[in-house]
């Protein structure tokens, strides 16, 4: 049996990984997931991975999802769960 090798290096972040692959910043942005989070004020913020600045803040989750789809029609959109249900709890993400 082959002896396994131990990987001790940390897993690169999404951005680091994309950079190593030689993807441009714009490409990394376009392929990266978009997150929709509920703010304490009750509105919804559309944000890219690791970005401090929001793409848009909208009053409803539905509008936020629509905006995210416009920004990234082929990308993955993740919505923060705002209700506890049998399919998932708060602080988890679901696909839009």
């Amino acid at each position: 049996m082959t002896r396994p090798v131990k990987i001790t290096t940390p897993i690169p972040t999404l951005d680091e990984f994309g950079e190593r692959l030689g993807l441009s910043k714009a490409k990394r942005k376009s392929l990266g997931p978009i997150f929709i989070e509920r703010r304490p004020q009750g509105d919804y913020v559309v944000r890219r991975t690791g970005a401090g600045k929001a793409i848009k803040v909208l009053p409803t989750q539905k509008e936020a999802v629509e905006r995210a789809r416009e920004v990234s029609p082929n990308g993955t959109i993740l919505v923060e769960r705002v209700r506890s249900s049998t399919r998932g709890a708060l602080d988890k993400w679901r696909k839009a």
Binding site: T2, I7, T9, L21, G22, L23, G32, N74, T76, K92
Partner: protein, 207 residues
């Protein structure tokens, strides 16, 4: 003039695999599995042109800390004009073995096969080396990748890696359309596949 030796990237894995449609699922399994393990797959599709092909392959092997050589395709290639076996994969394995023998701390190679004991006939020089047998299945590739690479923390399970594979498979059409490619065996599509796999890992860790 002596050739410049590339710096070794610690997480990079050179993938020596067949580029044909029958191998498409396993190709994606290698990508999804390696990316899930936090490694960076590299293939001969992704190397810049303008240098002699052999030099490019040698530089790629030397620049990767690990290499995986899938010797599943030992049968004759029946495409015209000649019915011949493909020697590229065993040849590249030979290059990796030679490089590892000269620099044992810089490189480690692994052989993957579809059928047990076949390598003892097809490449008996490797007797004493146990190949990883994937049985031509996606789950087999993921299992064997997990067997050879161990993360000290957060070692993914096969079902987790399978989930990444499925996500990447579902996104194939989008990747091809975005890259303007007709096949996944193109440099641009390969880059996008790797990144999509990394996105899938990121997303599954948040859900």
């Amino acid at each position: 003039m002596p050739r410049r030796i590339a710096n070794v990237t610690r997480d990079a894995v050179f993938l020596n695999i067949p580029y044909d449609q029958r191998f498409r699922a396993l190709y994606m399994a290698y990508i999804a599995g390696l990316v899930h393990l936090g490694l960076e797959p590299r293939v001969t599709l992704g190397i810049p042109s303008g240098i002699r092909r052999l030099d490019r392959i040698a530089a790629l092997i030397e620049g990767c800390r690990y290499s995986i050589h899938d010797l599943s395709r030992v049968e004759l290639d029946r495409n015209p004009p000649f019915t011949t076996p493909r020697f590229n994969m065993p040849f590249e394995l030979g290059l990796a073995v030679a490089w590892e023998r000269a620099n044992p701390t810089k490189h480690t190679w692994f052989v993957f096969e579809e059928k047990p004991f076949r390598i003892q006939k097809s490449l008996s020089d490797l007797n004493g080396t146990d190949p990883q047998i994937h049985a031509g299945q996606v789950s087999g590739v993921l299992r064997e990748l997990r067997n050879v690479f161990r993360r000290t923390r957060n070692q993914p399970t096969v079902p987790e890696m399978m989930k990444t594979f499925r996500t990447v498979s579902r996104r194939c059409a989008v990747i091809l359309a975005a890259a303007g490619a007709t096949s996944l065996f193109e440099a641009r599509a390969f880059q996008d596949l790797c990144f999509e796999a990394r996105v899938a890992v990121e997303v599954s860790s948040k859900r």
